[in-house]
């Protein structure tokens, strides 16, 4: 457990109205600060995009918020609960979709949902009703009794999203939910997420596809080198730039990448 220094109650009070509040969240690997004292507020009911280049610290940050990675310092408050002080309550209030982690591969999709729902203490009948609806809406009916091990990337993201929504949490934390997903599945996931925020839920999701974030999010935070470079409402972060893409490249100082050299390219084989 992290040190229980005073200020937890103040931090939670100060975070009222925020679905997620990070205070000085820090993680170092081998002396390198991958996440460097991040402060971030995610307003309740917002569709919040966390953008940044590969290796910026997006996954590390989300892992610390979801309770999968112990922070070196700082706090993560989700729906009014300090994640690392009271994990059971905090985890009941969040739905999680991590990137690149395995599932229970030898269960079928419905079996996995049923298992996880009952493990959360939900009555079997409620679990089955909700699982059935989620599977229909997410267009996983065709998969039937197929094992998760044989699911495609899009199907895996969708079944994980179903597992995240099953207990109807107030906050969703999604790491690259649309990475390597086919257009149809992506549209389904986007629609379900929009319906979720319309009903009052908060979505935090990471991505490096700017157009996607621009089209979906109400708020955005730009993260690079383990720090938050800009955060706030989408229009404010974009500022006068033509698109979020341009604003992002300006912010991280990489507007002239891919130039120079390569004069031999396209001349002749071998």
């Amino acid at each position: 457990m992290i040190p229980h220094y005073p200020g937890q109650q103040q931090a939670i009070r100060a975070a009222a109205g925020q679905a997620v509040a990070l205070r000085g969240l820090t993680k170092a690997f081998g002396g390198r600060r991958v996440v460097d004292a991040i402060d971030l507020d995610v307003p309740t009911g917002s569709f919040f995009g966390l953008v940044g280049p590969n290796g910026a610290g997006k996954t590390t940050t989300l892992s610390m918020v979801t309770g999968l990675l112990r922070p070196d310092a700082g706090r993560a408050i989700v729906a009014g609960i300090d994640v690392w002080a009271d994990p059971p309550t905090a985890k009941a209030r969040m739905g999680v979709l991590p990137d690149g982690l395995r599932l229970f591969e030898r269960l079928s999709g419905p079996e996995m949902l049923s298992y996880l729902g009952r493990l959360r203490g939900m009555p079997a009948s409620v679990v089955n009703d909700r699982a059935g609806e989620l599977i229909t809406v997410l267009d996983l009916d065709d998969a039937g009794n197929k094992l998760v091990a044989d699911y495609s990337t899009g199907m895996r993201k969708k079944i994980t999203l179903a597992a995240a929504l099953l207990h109807s949490p107030p906050v969703l934390l999604l790491d690259e939910p649309l990475e390597a997903v086919d257009p149809v599945s992506a549209r389904i996931i986007r629609t379900v997420l929009s319906r979720y925020t319309a009903a009052g839920g908060t979505v935090v999701f990471s991505s490096h596809v700017m157009a996607l974030v621009e089209g979906l999010c109400s708020h955005v935070a730009v993260i690079a080198g383990g720090r938050i470079i800009a955060a706030g409402e989408l229009a404010a972060v974009r500022g006068s730039a033509a698109s979020l893409d341009d604003a992002f490249l300006n912010l991280i100082g990489a507007s002239d990448v891919g130039e120079g050299g390569l004069s031999w390219l396209g001349s002749s084989p071998a």
Binding site: G67, K91, V96, L101, E105, Y115, A124, N128, N145, K146
Partner: protein, 530 residues
């Protein structure tokens, strides 16, 4: 081109050593020294057989055959031990199949295992090269044997590589692994049967006489046939060996061509999950959580070969092992060894799913559920384990007419079973280890850098289980030496001590898991990459 392949393989071999540091490297070097000593000892022992030609011949014939079988089957059982085995890695390079094949052959001959094989084969050549005038022939035979091993092994693995890339193929590999295990037990039993004045078991001699005309056996008998002037037989043996090599080379070339030009269909048909009975238990309280978790474990034991095969093996071992090691009465006590192995099935419970553990981290984060989970995994091992032990006990008692020792033996068995499970649960929280999630092998149970952990955890389960069974064991000894009444004491003590151990373990394990969950997750996630 051959030089490039040789260089690539050399780099792969040496980089594994260079990538380690500090204590790991020291252990690795110690391991190499021990292995080298073992190989050296084996080689000297083989060479010493030169003095007793009537023993040397069957031993070397058997060695050659076993060596070839091991080379051919090991890619199926432990696929992926060598990056150069997988021809798909070369599919996009502009290389002709013949060039690729020669390059791969040379690459396959570089490495620790081929080196060890070469040294042992040198010893074998000394053993069969009697008199010294045929030693060069023996040497040639040894070289040809190694090349046949490599070529046939590569041919088999190449033709299976597309199969092994699919989930069903890997599941099949596990079934084959179990088959090999059963064959091995039968082989051991056959070799030990009977015995004659030379000290060689009769079973081994008669087996060797048959094997002498198999391709590797023919190579092993060639020098002695030449030495004794049986030139016609020698020519036949040489022909068998040469034809095998040529056929194997052609098979390999054919398989390479095929695997490099056809698209593997890895996403083809899933075997559906079938209609398993959906559980209705709900994780409210320790008992409910236990039922939910045990329900999933039970389902997976039926469905997942990685979990099913160990149980088949345990059933087989628990019932057969007492017949092999104990002659006469008292074999009922040998069932306890199988009972200890049952304990291992509750072991490393946080590592079985690799990074899939995150689903449990999100749902099991309070003490009640954590205890329920531990007990669920325990009960999922206790129930089938008890069935196996009872069946094995009944078989031994009836076969050996040994009923009066049953209460004492049952006491020891239950104490060992429950004790090993208790220790296995606790160790899975304090010493978790990653399990390879690619499922390429039933026997590849650890990932690089965690071999020590894996070994330590397994040892702790067996040792701890034996320790917890000790009180019942004492009572069992008294039941044989003092009075049969002690047998019932052993049964009572075994059950009580075992149950207490599981109860205590569930509390300690749950606490340890909740305290260290993210660290456990980090350790076991390494299994995804292998």
């Amino acid at each position: 081109m051959v030089g490039i392949f040789a260089g690539l393989k050399w780099r792969l071999v040496t980089s594994r050593l260079r990538a380690t540091s500090g204590a790991t490297r020291i252990w690795m070097i110690i391991g190499f020294v021990v292995a080298a000593a073992a190989v050296g000892l084996l080689t000297v022992g083989l060479a010493a057989l030169r003095a007793i030609p009537e023993a040397a011949q069957p031993v070397v014939v058997t060695l050659f055959v076993v060596q070839l079988v091991a080379w051919v089957l090991s890619p199926l059982v432990a696929f992926g031990v060598d990056e150069t085995v997988d021809p798909a890695r070369f599919a996009l390079l502009p290389i002709r199949t013949q060039t690729l094949q020669r390059g791969l052959l040379v690459a396959s001959l570089i490495g620790y295992l081929p080196l060890a094989n070469m040294v042992i084969l040198l010893g074998a050549a000394v053993a069969i090269g009697v008199p010294w005038s045929v030693f060069p022939v023996a040497l040639v035979c040894a070289v040809v044997q190694l090349i046949i091993c490599v070529v046939l092994s590569r041919a088999a693995s190449t033709s299976m590589s597309s199969l092994m890339a699919s989930r069903r193929g890997r599941d099949l590999g596990m079934a084959v692994g179990f088959g090999i295990f059963v064959l091995y037990m039968g082989f051991v039993a056959l070799l030990n049967s009977g015995g004659d004045q030379t000290g060689m078991p009769a079973g081994a001699s008669s087996l060797a006489a048959v094997l002498a005309w198999s391709p590797p056996g023919a190579l092993a008998s060639l020098p002695s046939l030449i030495a004794s002037g049986e030139l016609a037989k020698a020519a036949l043996a040489a022909l068998i060996a040469a034809a095998t090599l040529a056929l194997a080379w052609w098979w390999w070339s054919f398989a390479l061509q095929r695997s490099l030009t056809t698209v593997p269909s890895t996403t083809a048909g899933s075997s559906p999950a079938g209609h398993a009975r959906e559980g209705h238990a709900v994780a409210i309280g320790v008992r409910g959580t236990m039922q939910v978790v045990a329900g999933r474990d039970r389902l997976l034991v039926w469905r997942d070969p990685m979990r099913r095969m160990p149980w088949l093996m345990i059933g087989f071992l628990t019932i057969i092992y007492p017949f092999l090691v104990v002659q006469g009465k008292g074999a009922v006590f040998a069932v306890a060894f199988g009972a200890l192995l049952v304990g291992a099935q509750a072991g490393n419970q946080y590592g079985v799913d690799g990074s899939g553990l995150w689903l449990h981290l999100q749902t099991i984060s309070d003490r009640v559920r954590a205890r329920g989970e531990v007990l669920g995994h325990a009960i999922a091992a206790i129930v089938p384990g008890t069935v196996v032990v009872l069946v094995a006990m009944a078989v031994q008692a009836v076969w050996r007419d040994d009923y009066d020792k049953v209460p004492a033996a049952l006491g020891v068995c239950f104490a060992a079973l429950l004790g090993a499970i208790a220790v296995a649960c606790f160790v899975s929280a304090v010493l978790p280890y990653a399990m390879p999630q690619s499922r390429v092998s039933l026997f590849a149970s650890s990932v690089p850098g965690q071999k020590g952990r894996t070994f330590g955890a397994s040892l702790a389960v067996l040792g701890g289980g034996a320790l917890i069974a000790a009180p019942a064991g004492v009572a069992a000894v008294l039941s044989v030496t003092v009075s049969p009444v002690w047998g019932w004491v052993a049964l009572a003590v075994g059950l009580v001590v075992g149950a207490l151990a599981v109860w205590l373990s569930s509390r300690l394990t749950a606490d340890s898991y909740l305290e260290r969950a993210p660290e456990i997750f980090a350790v076991v996630s390494a299994g995804d990459r292998v």
